[in-house]
Amino acid sequence: MKILVAVKRVLDYNVKARVKADKSGVDLSNVKMSMNPFDEIAVEEALRISEAGKADEVVAVSLGVSQAQETLRTAMAMGADRGILVESDAELQPLAVAKLLKHVIEKEQPDLVLLGKQAIDDDSNQTGQMLAALMDWPQATFASKVEVGEGKAQVTREIDGGLETIEVTLPAVITTDLRLNEPRYAKLPNIMKAKKKPLDVIPVADTGVDVTPRLEVLEVNEPQARSAGIKVSSVDELVDKLKNEAKVI
């Protein structure tokens, strides 16, 4: 079995995002970038499935700028066998990413595709679902447990109000939630090995996929600074304020 894992290069979760002066987006110059944390979970899950003897190849795929090769090396240092980058300097929105992944899937023919449920930069939470639709494959999103069997997988999903366990036939798309696993840290020998693992770079133009943005960003703003709170003297006052001032209950 072959597993494809999608990994995105995003602003590191420890870095405070700053909006560009012209409000066109978040300033990414000279800031630390790293692998989207949900994708790390996806890589970890793919490796665990492979280490349990249920898969023989884990291929990491990224879509975006040339530096995303570093993200792929990170995935390979964790244990992925090889990497594929579809290189594009242009902004790639979820639909474009899903279409490009479809292009890669048609070539690679994986039995399972794992993605993070969302990327922490734009928080779209769309790519996995769109990909499943484009492939006409079953999807299991927000996975907190994955059990791969013969030709199918049992997936426990985090849904509003609890957990739901479903079975999907393979090939399928699974998107990972936070509690699925705790990703490993790369060991030094694996970091060194990752430098020698194969990494294919495919220019986006060679895919023939239309990646034109369908959404236009009008303006990006910093969230409003939080103002200081107040202390209430009784539960009644709290309930009153929540009801009549904040109007949240």
Partner: protein, 387 residues
């Protein structure tokens, strides 16, 4: 070494940071309070291959150089940890790699790389000779297939958590050698065999929770096969290893320095007195800025030392200067950080007082600041010798 080369170590930094994030400030604080040894941390560093970084790939290591080793130790200290618990293996490794025989490498390196043996200790310092190393009194006398060791050492670290020690002893009496630096040799000592059979260990309670000891040798027998290199040339081998050691210490200090600066910056930005953050006062800002400049300047000298060492050139001058600059800079940063924290700096839970104690060590060990100044004055500037 330009900034792109330095950026090339980002994957190593990331890896070490990831590991260190599992051993947070509370972990180190707890170890310090209990005067314990961070066994879990050392084990994790071993298992993840970081302490075998310099062992060649054919022996199961990663075959990296001093630059990478320095980044590993820097990141441990940068993360608030104490690389004094693991650095011995890095220091010693160059001695074994450069001067050990093929048989010795074959025997020890794969075991060290696999994490089954630790080479964390080096026995040089003695109570009555101190920095004047050529006057050491510990002797190793050849007796058939063995050497018999007698004497005493002090401040020998990590003995209780190591399997092997590199020992410096006199094999030819001082009176019988032409130059005082001749007639000393280095040996690999199997500690498990030695302790209780001619070697006794007396722990020294100390300021920095360093597992460090006094050693007493009473007719300790070590196989002649454990002599490293040629008899009588041990001091030269040790000196060669010291350039690596000094560069690594410099990197540790730079890690400390960056930890202190960040801690001071954060606290100065948050702590409000007189209705504004204390960091808004230039009297608070400027010392932090100055310490930052000194840490970054020291870092440049550290890269010069790494580059020279790794390309096989003589790194003596830059390694010593890097160690001096970095130890001064980290101590300045420590002092500024403590001052910035006011009274809270003295509270254990801020970790500043612990790191303050830990970084202070590097002005004294493994070589004191004065001795570096003496080296620069007499060897680089060729001023008259004072000893």
């Amino acid at each position: 070494m330009n900034s792109t080369t330095v950026a090339a170590y980002e994957d190593i930094r990331e890896g070490v940071r990831g590991l260190c994030s599992q051993f947070d400030a509370a972990y180190w604080r707890g170890i310090d309070a209990r005067k314990a040894f961070p066994e879990e941390f050392v084990e994790a560093m071993t298992q993840a291959g970081w302490l075998a970084a310099m062992i060649p790939e054919e022996y199961g290591g990663s075959g990296l150089g001093l630059a990478e080793a320095s980044v590993i130790l820097e990141e441990v200290n940068r993360a608030g940890g104490n690389s004094g618990t693991v650095h011995g293996q890095m220091y010693n490794m160059f001695t074994l790699l450069r001067h050990g025989s093929d048989a010795q490498k074959q025997r020890y390196l794969p075991e060290i790389a696999a994490g089954r043996l630790r080479l964390q200790s080096m026995g040089v310092t003695e109570p009555t000779t101190g920095t004047d190393t050529t006057k050491i009194k510990t002797t190793a006398v050849r007796d058939g297939d063995s050497y018999i060791v007698n004497g005493q050492k002090v401040w020998i670290s990590r003995i209780q958590h190591s399997d092997l020690m590199i020992l410096l002893a006199r094999t030819t009496p001082l009176e019988q050698v032409k130059r005082k630096s001749e007639g000393m040799s280095i040996f690999i000592v199997d500690l498990q065999q030695a302790i209780g059979n001619g070697l006794s260990v007396q722990p020294i309670a100390n300021m920095v929770n360093h597992e460090t000891n006094e050693l007493f040798f009473d007719n300790l027998k070590i196989p002649a096969a454990n002599l490293i290199g040629e008899e009588g040339k041990g001091f030269r081998y040790i000196l060669d290893g010291l350039n690596a050691e000094r560069t690594l210490i410099a990197a540790e200090c730079i890690g400390d320095g960056r930890w202190f600066i960040e801690k001071a910056r954060n606290y100065a930005s948050e702590r409000e007195v007189f209705g504004r953050p204390i960091g808004q006062n230039q009297g608070v800002q400027f010392p932090i800025a100055k310490a930052h400049i000194n840490v970054e300047a020291a870092d440049l000298m550290r890269w010069r030392a790494c580059e020279e060492y790794d390309s096989g050139r003589n790194a003596g001058a830059s390694a010593n200067m890097a160690k001096y600059l970095a130890a001064e800079a980290s101590w300045e940063a420590a002092n500024v950080c403590l001052q910035t924290h006011g009274g809270f700096g003295f509270a254990n839970e801020y970790d500043v007082e612990r790191k303050f104690r830990e970084t202070r060590l590097y002005q004294v060990a493994p070589i004191s600041t004065n001795l570096i100044l003496s080296y620069v004055a007499e060897h680089l500037l060729e001023l008259p010798r004072s000893f």
